[in-house]
Symmetry: C2
Subunit: 308 residues, 2 copies
C-alpha cells in the first residue's frame, strides 16, 4: 500500500457510532481524517481512542467534511442527524460535500432524504445511497458488501470513502433508492433464512436430536444457507445463556417492515417474508428486541420445554 | 479402482426407475448385478441399455437380491412395491435380505413399513431407512447425500450399496425413521429457501431490475443459499419457456406436508414452512404440479405482467 495522498484525501464525518458506525469510523481513521458524532459519550470516547476526532454536534462533525457518512439506525435518526438541532446539513454547504447514507431505511425514505438535502442546500450537496451489509467485524476490516445507487458525480466523490469500507462495491443504479431496493431484497432473504433456520433447529431440538450434529450435516447440501451456518450455532447458544448480540431482533422488525412495504407497493405476494415479519414482531413483544436475532428460536422451542 | 469382489458383492434389486431410481440403478450396475422393475416399459428399456437386468415384477427383481432398493415416490408406492400384487416381499425371504428405503416418506410411514416387513417375514428381512438427496445427476455419479437410520446389522448389509451411491453417508440414528426425520428437516429448509428465492426474484422483476445481475450479487453474502444459487437462474427461465424439469412441484407438495405434520406432532410452530406449503399447493392447483419447482415464481410475478 502506498501512503495516502493527503492533497486529495477526503475529510470525513461519521454520524452515528453504533454497532456499524464505530468500526466504520475506526476503519476510515486508519488513513483519513475523521470527525465523528454520537449522542453517547462512551461511544465517542471509544472512537477517540481509535484515532477519530470527537465532535460535539453533527454540524460540527460535518463542518469541514467532504464526505458525511450516516450510520444511524433508521429514517427518523437520519432526519434528526441531518436536519435536527445542530444537524449536519449546513444550507451554506457547497457541491464539494456529499452525504452517504449507509443505513437501511428503504427506497422511499432514501429518496425523501435526497429531496430534502437538495432543497436545503439549493442542490449543492449530493446524496449517495449506499446501504452496507456484513456486520461489525467486517466493517472494521473494510470487508463490507455495499450496493450503491447515486448519480455518477456524487458516486465518484464518495468512492474514496466507500472503497475503504467495502470489499465488494457494486453500483446497482443511478438513482438514490436503487441501493435500498437491493438491500431490501437482501434482507428479505436474510430474514427468511434466519427464521427458517430457527424452525429447523427448534424441530431438531424438540425431536431430541442434537442441532450441533444436524446443522453442519445439512449445511453442506441443498438445505444450506449463509444464515444456517452463521446463526445455527448461535441458536444453540440461545439455550445456554444466549449468544452475544451481533445483530438485534429489532433490526429485522424494521427491515422486514421495509420488505413487506416494498413488496406491497410492487403488488408482489411475499407470504414467507410476511410470516418472518410476524415472527420478529412476536420476538419483540416477548422482550427480545435488543437480543441477538438468533434468539427467535426460543419462540419455537421454549428453553424450559414449554410444549413438553 | 480394484475389480469388484464377486464373492461378497451383493446382488441388488432396484424398484422404481424414476428421476432418482434410474440413475441409481445405472450407477450400481457399474460394478454390481442389478435387477430392476418399473411399471413403465420405456424406463425399463432405458435401464437395460445401461447394463441393468429388467424384471417383470417387483417380486422377480427381488427374488435373488441381497439388497432391495426402493426408489419410488411416496408411501403408497412403497406399500404397493413391497406388498402389492407380485410385491417384492417374499414371506420366505431370509435375514440375508435387506430392504433399503431411499424415498422421502416421513418418519411414521417408514416405521410402519418396517413393522410390516418384519411381520411378513417373521423378522427375517431387515429395513434400512436411507433417504437420499442431491438430484438425478449426482445419483448417477454416486455423489448423493444419504442419512441413515437403522440397526447396525441391517446398516452393514446395506453399506456396500449405499457406499456406491453416496459421497456423504451419515448414520443419524439406530432406528428406522431417524433418517426420515433428518431428511424432513432438510426439506423444510430446502422448500422454504426455494420459496424465499421466488419472492426475492419476483420482487426484483416487478421492480424492473434484472435478476441475472441481482441474484449473483446477493448469493455471495448474507442472503446466500444453495437454493438461491441453484434455482435462481432456473426461475429466470420460467419466463422464457420454463426450466427443464429436474425436481417437480408435487415433490414439495408431498414433502412440505411431511414437514408440517412432523412439526405438528412435535408441537413446534413452523410458520414459514406452513406458508411455503401453501405456495406449493397453490402452484399445484395452478396446474404446475409436474413442472420444475422453480415455476412457483410465476405465482408471485405473472409472466404476462398480471399486476401491471
Amino acid at each position: 500500500m502506498s501512503e495516502p495522498d493527503t492533497t486529495t484525501a477526503p475529510r470525513v464525518a461519521v454520524i452515528g457510532l453504533g454497532a456499524m458506525g464505530l468500526p466504520m469510523a475506526t476503519r476510515l481513521a486508519e488513513d483519513l481524517t475523521v470527525q465523528a458524532f454520537d449522542p453517547d459519550a462512551a461511544r465517542l470516547a471509544e472512537a477517540r481512542e481509535q484515532g477519530v476526532v470527537a465532535a460535539a454536534t453533527p454540524r460540527a462533525a460535518a463542518a469541514d467534511a467532504d464526505v458525511v457518512v450516516l450510520a444511524v439506525r433508521d429514517a427518523a435518526q437520519v432526519e434528526a442527524a441531518l436536519f435536527g438541532v445542530d444537524g449536519a446539513i449546513d444550507p451554506a454547504a457547497t457541491a464539494a460535500q456529499v452525504v452517504v447514507l449507509t443505513s437501511t431505511v428503504g427506497r422511499d425514505a432514501a429518496r425523501a432524504v435526497e429531496r430534502a438535502v437538495h432543497e436545503a442546500t439549493d442542490g449543492g450537496v449530493g446524496v449517495v445511497d449506499a446501504p452496507v451489509s456484513g456486520g461489525p467485524a467486517r466493517a472494521g476490516a473494510g470487508d463490507l458488501l455495499v450496493v450503491v445507487g447515486a448519480d455518477p458525480q456524487a458516486r465518484e466523490r464518495a468512492r474514496p470513502v466507500l472503497g475503504r469500507l467495502a470489499s465488494t462495491l457494486t453500483v446497482v443504479g443511478d438513482r438514490v433508492g436503487d441501493g435500498q431496493v437491493v438491500k431490501t431484497i437482501n434482507q428479505l432473504l436474510a430474514g427468511v433464512h434466519i427464521a427458517a433456520a430457527a424452525e429447523a433447529i427448534a424441530l431438531t431440538r424438540e425431536l431430541g436430536l442434537d442441532p450441533e450434529v444436524i446443522v453442519p450435516l445439512l449445511s453442506t447440501g441443498a438445505a444450506g444457507s449463509f444464515m444456517l451456518a452463521d446463526r445455527g450455532p448461535r441458536m444453540a447458544q440461545a439455550y445456554t445463556g444466549g449468544a452475544p448480540v451481533r445483530s438485534r431482533v429489532d433490526i429485522f422488525v424494521k427491515d422486514m417492515g421495509l420488505v413487506t412495504e416494498l413488496a406491497r407497493s410492487a403488488h408482489v405476494p411475499t407470504p414467507l417474508a410476511a410470516s418472518a415479519q410476524q415472527l420478529y414482531l412476536m420476538a419483540e413483544q416477548a422482550g427480545l428486541g435488543a437480543q441477538d436475532d438468533s434468539s427467535v428460536v426460543t419462540l419455537l422451542s421454549a428453553p424450559d420445554g414449554g410444549a413438553a
